[in-house]
């Protein structure tokens, strides 16, 4: 049962990833296939007994991070972004080649290189164990996290927000018609 589910989720994850990379015309659809990958990964985490991480994967990656991507795509109106035909085929071929060679070597390493999985303690992967680790052993990392979030908050506002002197449409209407192209 769980083997079948594993392969089903893995197939969805790979299909979503490929759909994102290969979709050249529609960035919204690319973002949505990424959502498929994220949800499938959440299922894989649950199969690997990482229950809290599984739900956080869906909550944060699928439910929050990709939403921001989608917002920016819609914000910039990238409904159809067809770029001029590619140049630099050399560079790209090289990138593709090296990545594939590394991948094949990696995949040949994996089979049989791990032993049997260790026996699981009670409550493994639940929020109690993760939380206990996070708030005691790794409390410094946890505190520094909030500084990272603060830095991101300040940085994003400075980068994205215009000064009040610049026109940004009527503050009462959500769509700024002045930017319509």
């Amino acid at each position: 049962m769980s083997e079948v589910l594993f392969y089903a989720f893995a197939a969805i994850a790979v299909a979503g990833a490929l759909g994102m990379v290969l979709n050249l015309h529609n960035t919204v659809a690319a973002a949505l296939s990424l959502v498929g990958t994220m949800v499938a990964l959440g299922g894989l985490y649950v199969l690997l007994e990482a229950y809290l991480i599984g739900v956080l994967q869906i909550l944060v990656y699928a439910g929050a991070i990709v939403v921001v991507f989608l917002f920016v795509v819609m914000l910039l109106n990238l409904r159809r972004d067809v770029f001029p035909a590619g140049r630099q085929w050399m560079t790209k071929g090289l990138a593709l080649g090296i990545s594939l060679v590394v991948l094949v070597r990696f995949l040949r390493l994996v089979p049989g290189s791990f032993g049997e999985p260790a026996a699981l303690p009670e409550g493994f992967g639940g929020y109690r164990e993760i939380g206990a680790r996070l708030f005691t052993d790794y409390v410094l990392a946890f505190e520094v996290t909030s500084l990272l979030l603060l830095a991101a908050m300040v940085g994003a506002v400075i980068l994205a927000k215009r000064e009040p002197s610049e026109p940004d449409g009527d503050p009462r209407t959500p769509v700024s018609r002045s930017e319509a192209s």
Binding site: T145, A156, A160
Partner: protein
Amino acid sequence: MQGEFVGLLLLLALALVIAGGFLLLHRLLSPRREFAEKLLPFECGELQIVSPHQRFSVKFYLVAMLFVLFDLEAVFFYPWGALFRELGGYGLAVMAVFTVPLVVGLVYEWRKGALEW
């Protein structure tokens, strides 16, 4: 524990079947009398003057960005809240230290006008 997820998967399958079945049944039952005017996007009986392919105000990005960052804050709050009894006063202090920068960030956004609509 994984047995608990059988119910979730079954309900997911059921929901997909219901939704798909409804759409399929509708497809089979509904009449089809299409003509060009009917297929136009609804604009109070007029042709579209402004294309919907236009850019949006950056406010939506700012809200989305704030959402992601505060959502992560909340993600750390959930297990902390459930473990609060075990952590006690130490936990409260840890979380206070964690929250201060985020409150500073919120005040900063507020003063910068990123929360204005």
